[in-house]
Symmetry: C3
Subunit: 155 residues, 3 copies
Amino acid sequence: MAKLTQLIDNEVFWAYATYTTIVLLKMMLMSPVTAYFRITRKAFANPEDTASLGKGESAKKFLRTDPDVERVRRGHLNDLENIVPFLGIGLLYTLCGPELSSALLHFRIFAGSRILHTFAYLIPLPQPSRGLSWAVGYVVTISMAYQVLKTALYL
Amino acid sequence: MAKLTQLIDNEVFWAYATYTTIVLLKMMLMSPVTAYFRITRKAFANPEDTASLGKGESAKKFLRTDPDVERVRRGHLNDLENIVPFLGIGLLYTLCGPELSSALLHFRIFAGSRILHTFAYLIPLPQPSRGLSWAVGYVVTISMAYQVLKTALYL
Amino acid sequence: MAKLTQLIDNEVFWAYATYTTIVLLKMMLMSPVTAYFRITRKAFANPEDTASLGKGESAKKFLRTDPDVERVRRGHLNDLENIVPFLGIGLLYTLCGPELSSALLHFRIFAGSRILHTFAYLIPLPQPSRGLSWAVGYVVTISMAYQVLKTALYL
């Protein structure tokens, strides 16, 4: 057990663990938000989900798409598309031993950009709010990828 | 090489490696299941996939959505949305040095919940089977996230 | 800091870091490609994205799906479905201490297969180009999963 607890005895790793957990929890929050909109808008994807709303034809009308539900689902997919690269590249960057201040800057800006992106998507805010918040997180991830390749390139 | 093989000399890590590999393989299984339904239901998304079924207009009719195909695809996306947080938070939880018994409990319940979720989605079972199996895995992931933040919080 | 920099002093880990960063960057590239097609095809998903193209009804007609945009989006989702398992299983495989030559073979073939898959999807090349390039990466991931379970199985 000692080895693993020693590995984590590193401030950059703590920071990575903290911010990764925060952005993953934020992404997970999209599931209950989707469920909330599906229930309040009565817009479901599966026949078995509408069983409690009526029988036969009267339930079928709830098998439909709703703009608010689709908006949350697009936000969730955008999270997946951007947080998966952060998860992988961020871990590799952490293991490359960056300066704590530099690592904290990367992690904080990324987490902030994804939280802003979610608000910009769900409220929604006028563009380019959503575009910019997406781009900031994207550039942070590329900056970490550059550090990884500079340190570890082995083709 | 020694360092890495020593890192893995840890039962919690073995358990994480085993259950993560199982749930990722289960998720990967959704791809051939999708292909199976696309072929048997003759419902494709890409014109080049229908080339062997006929030419011109006769092939175009196979460019359509099918309820069974869409059901598998929703199950696959739900796997991504839930297994990605498990992958990241579970690794961080493992590195925080939890008790083996507690870690095994988390990993086993999560893997079981995702396997049940797939059966509930594909058969499909009446609700709340799918909802409950999803919720169990969700709560397990949040429990691990809480342990990570309690151990490593560094903002 | 020493611990982490020693961990990375391992050629298999460098190779994993390099190829994982490459495939994640390739996946990230799908976002600007999607944006390019959305803008050139004038096909958007969100009303706020069409605000600069006109007011009211004249902007609404740009809220539509376009075959080229949907093609890129399917390629992006296929990346997620296949690169997430590589990210997790590849890391566990790396930590199981494989031979460098064997690990390089796995990582190179996987990265090559995903790059070919993207070209096969976006050009598009006739089938079975896309199917085969997908299958090669799939089999490589299963081969690594087998090594992980053989080394670390702990149920």
